[in-house]
Amino acid sequence: MDRMQILLLLAMALFALGLIGVIVRRNLLVMLMCMELMLNGVNLSLVTFAQQTGTSAGAVLVFLIFVVAAAEIAIAIPIVLVLVHQRRTLDADAYMDLNG
């Protein structure tokens, strides 16, 4: 296996682990961090492909993902703060009445 395959395999593993974390963990903040892990896996695959093909489109997309991740955290953290302020818990199961 060469380096690119190792890196793509790592990117897949990071994405899958992040997805498992979002499904499996109960803590809201840990779920948010697992979403960040998924974004990191996608970033790694984009950088690997950009490096392999020698084009800069992948790197541009990585920059835009950085901004989207910052925006995601900026909007997710106030929501978590408001939720915790109302129910005094970080347990995702305590907010079951939010599903539609």
Binding site: R3, M4, I6, L8, L9, L10, M12, A13, L14, F15, A16, L17, G18, L19, I20, G21, I23, V24, R25, R26, N27, L28, L29, V30, M33, E36, L37, N43, L44, A50, Q51, Q52, T53, G54, S56, A59, V60, F63, L64, F66, V67, V68, A69, A70, A71, E72, A74, I75, I77, P78, I79, V80, L81, V82, V84, H85, R88, T89, L90, D91
Partner: protein, 174 residues
């Protein structure tokens, strides 16, 4: 012998960084306290920054550390310290979706790996590296619209965060 070792040093470092990043990501699933999870995520991000540096995209490595580790994770650590709630999510780490979640994630990984094995021959191996100058020219000449759209997204996120906080305050008062 030392020359061959030095020639393969970057490949060895790449493997070490990849293994460490994977170990950090795996630790995130099992650690109990959110602060420990945040530390594992930070180590994974730093190792990914090292991988980007080894690949030759130094500016992305710098931004990985500057934006992800400095801005996003410092914010996250701050919120973890602010909300030190020892509740049921602290004593019981996993939801009732533990086994379906692990099965689904493993299935996804297997499907992606199968796709990688199928597409290995079609991967072009040019590996022509691009520099910061080429990236900057492409960024501001071809992708300026996407750049502006992301800045609009950032403004929208800030306004939305203010709206969330204000809405909850109004509900508290009323």
């Amino acid at each position: 012998m030392i020359n061959s070792f030095l020639a393969n040093l970057d490949t060895a470092l790449l493997y070490v960084f990849a293994l460490s990043a994977f170990a950090g990501a795996a630790l995130m699933l099992v650690l109990r306290h959110p602060m420990q999870v945040a530390m594992a995520l930070i180590s994974t991000m730093v190792f990914l920054g090292g991988i980007y540096g080894l690949l030759g995209v130094h500016f992305i490595a710098a931004f990985q550390v500057l934006i992800y580790v400095s801005a996003v994770m410092v914010f996250m650590v701050y919120v973890i310290m602010l909300l030190d709630v020892r509740d049921v999510s602290f004593t019981h780490r996993f939801s009732r979706w533990l086994f379906p979640g692990i099965a689904f994630g493993t299935l996804l990984f297997a499907a992606l790996g199968y796709g990688l094995v199928l597409g290995i021959d079609r991967l072009a191996t040019t590996s022509v590296s691009f520099g910061l100058a080429q990236f900057s020219a492409a960024f501001l000449s071809e992708y300026w619209l996407q750049f502006e759209l992301t800045s609009v997204l950032l403004v929208a996120a800030v306004v939305a965060a203010l709206a969330v906080i204000k809405g909850s305050r109004r509900r508290d008062r009323g």
